[in-house]
């Protein structure tokens, strides 16, 4: 199997996610960027799982791990949105740069 393709794609996707986290001010978009990173890793895992299957691994660890990552990602979004909503309620903004009460 030609693995370089999905792996490079995943790496690029991961970098897009990282860039999003660093550059976005909107908390929801930051959250989505993190999800992009998780998705990139999922692609990686599935690819590696296929590679392992090619070598005769029957357990499909990568694929199963990917399922776990998806489930946990969903939970993370749930908690994250709740926290962002809390922020919005108290400050009427989801700009994360406004949350700088504590510093230095």
């Amino acid at each position: 199997m030609q693995a370089a393709f999905p792996l490079v794609f995943a790496a690029l996707l991961f970098c897009v996610g990282v860039f999003g986290v660093l550059s976005r001010r909107n908390a929801v978009l930051v959250l989505m960027s993190v999800e992009l990173m998780l998705a990139a890793v999922t692609i990686n895992l599935v690819t590696f799982g296929l590679l392992a299957a090619d070598r005769g691994d029957v357990v499909l660890t990568g694929q199963i791990f990917a399922l776990f990552v998806l489930a946990i990602g969903a939970a993370e979004v749930g908690v994250g949105l709740a926290i962002i909503l809390l922020l919005y309620r108290n400050r009427a903004t989801v700009n994360i740069d406004d949350a700088d009460l504590m510093k230095y």
Partner: protein, 642 residues
């Protein structure tokens, strides 16, 4: 140290662990229930330290009854730390009771007891009386842990606790700002010394695989000289911090800020002697590295000289005593530095008596003249408080080395050893000079306080202190006068034999002058200094004391000669005091503050990175990832090196 025994069950040594534990328990009791106990708390404190004193005496008697080669006991209470299995490191809670520890125990407990009794009268009117006694107890307990510790680590426990207690006690009257500052300085300077001690311990552990005296000290000759030199120097750094030697001596005079009994405790029985004790305890180590010993002696001599010169120019009665402590500690370091550990310890003991006495007398005087500390505003107190005055006189004679007082014997012994050590003649010369200066400034101290015309402020009614204060003075006076009997001769005195199992013996190398000449020189210089001080200040115009007069001023005044003397003596002292004040400010304070400021500066810049923005934190995480990748890459590139 080779022949270590386990104490027989039921013997006083078997119960020696109670010596530090009982005062510590009493301290805890007083801290928690002090308010409820009220006046009773001082009784608890005195009883506990009295118990320790009695037990210490029994321990001493027990050791004396043992054959000479069987006087080193280790009483193990239990394991404290044990790591790495059978051949790993093991540190016990254990007491090393040997002749050296036993004399230190006697000094700490008995002088401590007297100071406790004295505080009964001195602190009677302070509202935080129970707390004060608790601290005193804790202080004594810490020092007792220090002198009985059977390993560098247990000694270090006491070492740190003593530092902490001194911090609490010096800052006891924290209402006054400068007191708190003094406490802080004492703390920081001591910590600098502690770093030296800690690193020395790590080196010892890495070299010998143990921290117990009984393991390390007999094995020192097997270690590389370079390591020993490093360890010796680092331990000495620790000792300079605790025992106030150049360059870390600045904290001690400032630590005068505490209540007077505390000063007495710090200066006489505990704390400052810890450094000398450490060097004496590690004597087999220093024996291997005589050059480091010589350095120790030189530092001691320089400290003795500088501090004595500064003491000549002070007008605060406690400050004079403080500098004199620094100076006398210098003598002790001369003793242990040139290799005559017995002499050093001997001077430590006699100094313990007369310095405690001097401080307590100073407290008594302050008590009488409404907490005045300026000796220019005293004078003529002899008839008002005869007990204090007479006992002070004995102490002054002892510290000045008047023949047959305790100070005479111990100081002569230190000086004789210096003279007998090749390469230390310069130290001997400095020591003789300091003896003269000591006699001078102590005579000045005594004369200005007790003789001459009364100069105290209006409304002050000097009176003798209550018996609880004068009784300790009398007891200490007896000790100061007769303490020399411990070791009347360097070769076959009692202490000399007594300490043989604990410290390395001194190998005299022949004096470069005849003994009579040595003695004569010391006595002569001291006599000149003392007489000069006494005569000069008996008729002095007080307005010029401590100011340094100046030729123009002097010409206009009656006591022309006195003024010149004052000028001559004061000028160098003042100059040196100023220089060291400047050094203190720019050097030590500068270093302390500079370090602090540097830390704070780094922190002020560093905290800016903590912007509060989530995105910049995420950036830091990413930067960290890159950093780690770079570290890995460099590790891979230079991989073969490690």
């Amino acid at each position: 140290m080779e022949n270590v025994l386990t104490p027989p069950a039921g013997s006083p040594v078997d119960f020696a662990w109670l010596i530090p534990v009982v005062p510590a328990l009493s301290a805890g009791l007083l801290l928690v229930f002090g308010k409820r106990l009220g006046r009773l708390s001082s009784a608890v404190a005195i009883l506990s330290i009295g118990f320790s004193a009695t037990l210490s005496t029994m321990v001493f008697a027990f050791l004396q009854a043992q054959p000479e080669e069987g006087r080193v006991f280790v009483r193990t209470l239990g394991t404290w730390l044990s790591v790495g299995g059978a051949d790993g490191l093991r540190v016990d809670w254990a007491l090393l009771i040997d002749p050296l520890a036993s004399v230190m125990l006697l000094l700490v407990t008995w002088v401590g007891l007297l100071i406790h009794v004295y505080s009964l009268g001195y602190m009677a009117h302070d509202e935080r009386n129970p707390q004060f006694f608790a601290y005193l107890n804790l202080f004594a307990a810490s020092m007792l842990i220090l002198v009985t510790g059977s390993s560098f680590l247990t000694l270090f426990v006491g070492w740190e606790l003593v530092g902490l207690c001194s911090y609490l006690l010096v800052g006891f009257w924290f209402e006054r700002r400068d007191y708190a500052t003094a406490a802080k300085k004492a703390f920081v300077v001591n910590r600098i010394g502690d770093v030296g001690f800690m690193i020395a311990m790590f080196l010892i552990f890495a070299t010998f695989g143990s921290l117990t005296f009984a393991d390390v000290l007999p094995a020192v000759s097997t270690a590389a000289t370079g390591v020993l030199i490093a360890v010796g120097l680092l331990l000495f750094v620790g000792a300079t911090g605790k025992s106030a030697q150049i360059p870390l001596f600045v904290w001690l005079p400032d630590a005068m800020a505490g209540p007077t009994p505390v000063s007495a405790l710090i200066h006489a029985a505990t704390m400052v002697t810890a450094g000398v004790y450490l060097v004496a305890r590690a004597s087999p180590l220093y024996l291997e590295i005589p050059d480091v010993g010589l350095l120790v002696a030189w530092v001691g001599a320089a400290t003795a000289f500088v501090a004595a010169a500064i003491a000549c120019a002070q007008v605060d009665l406690k400050r004079i005593l403080a500098y004199s402590t620094v100076s006398q500690l210098g003598y002790m370091f001369i003793g242990v530095g040139v290799g005559d550990y017995t002499a050093g310890v001997f001077h430590l003991l006699t100094h313990g008596f007369f310095k405690a006495l001097l401080f307590l007398a100073a407290g008594s005087v302050m008590h009488a003249v409404a907490d005045e500390t300026d000796i220019r505003r005293m004078g003529g107190l002899f008839s008002k408080m005869p007990v204090t005055a007479v006992t002070s006189l004995i102490a002054v004679l002892a510290i000045a080395g008047f023949p047959y007082t305790s100070g005479f014997f111990s100081k002569e012994e230190v000086l004789a050893s210096a003279a007998a050590r090749p390469g230390a003649q310069g130290i001997w010369v400095l020591g003789i000079l300091v003896a003269g200066m000591t006699a001078f400034y102590m005579a000045r101290w005594f004369v200005l306080i007790f003789l001459g015309s009364p100069r105290w402020a209006e409304g002050v009614r000097p009176h003798e202190s209550p018996p609880s204060m004068t009784l300790p003075l009398v007891v200490l006076a007896v000790g100061s006068a007769a303490g020399g009997l411990l070791n009347t001769s360097p070769e076959d005195g009692f202490l000399h034999h007594w300490l043989e199992p604990s410290v390395a013996a001194f190998a005299a190398d022949g004096h470069f002058l005849s003994e009579g000449l040595l003695l004569g020189a010391a006595l002569g210089v001291a006599a000149v200094g003392g007489l000069l001080g006494a005569l000069l200040y008996l008729r002095v115009d007080v307005a010029t004391v401590g100011v340094g007069g100046g030729a123009r001023n002097a010409a206009r005044r009656r006591y022309y000669v006195d003024e010149v003397y004052e000028t001559i003596v004061m000028r160098p002292g003042r100059a040196m005091a100023d220089a060291f004040a400047a050094f203190d400010r720019r050097g030590i304070d500068g270093a302390v503050n500079g370090l602090a400021r540097m830390t704070a500066g780094v922190a002020t810049v560093g905290r800016r990175t903590q912007t509060g923005f989530v995105r910049s934190y995420a950036l830091a995480v990413l930067a960290g990832t890159v950093l780690i990748a770079a570290l890995f890459a460099s590790g891979v590139v230079f991989g073969g090196i490690r």
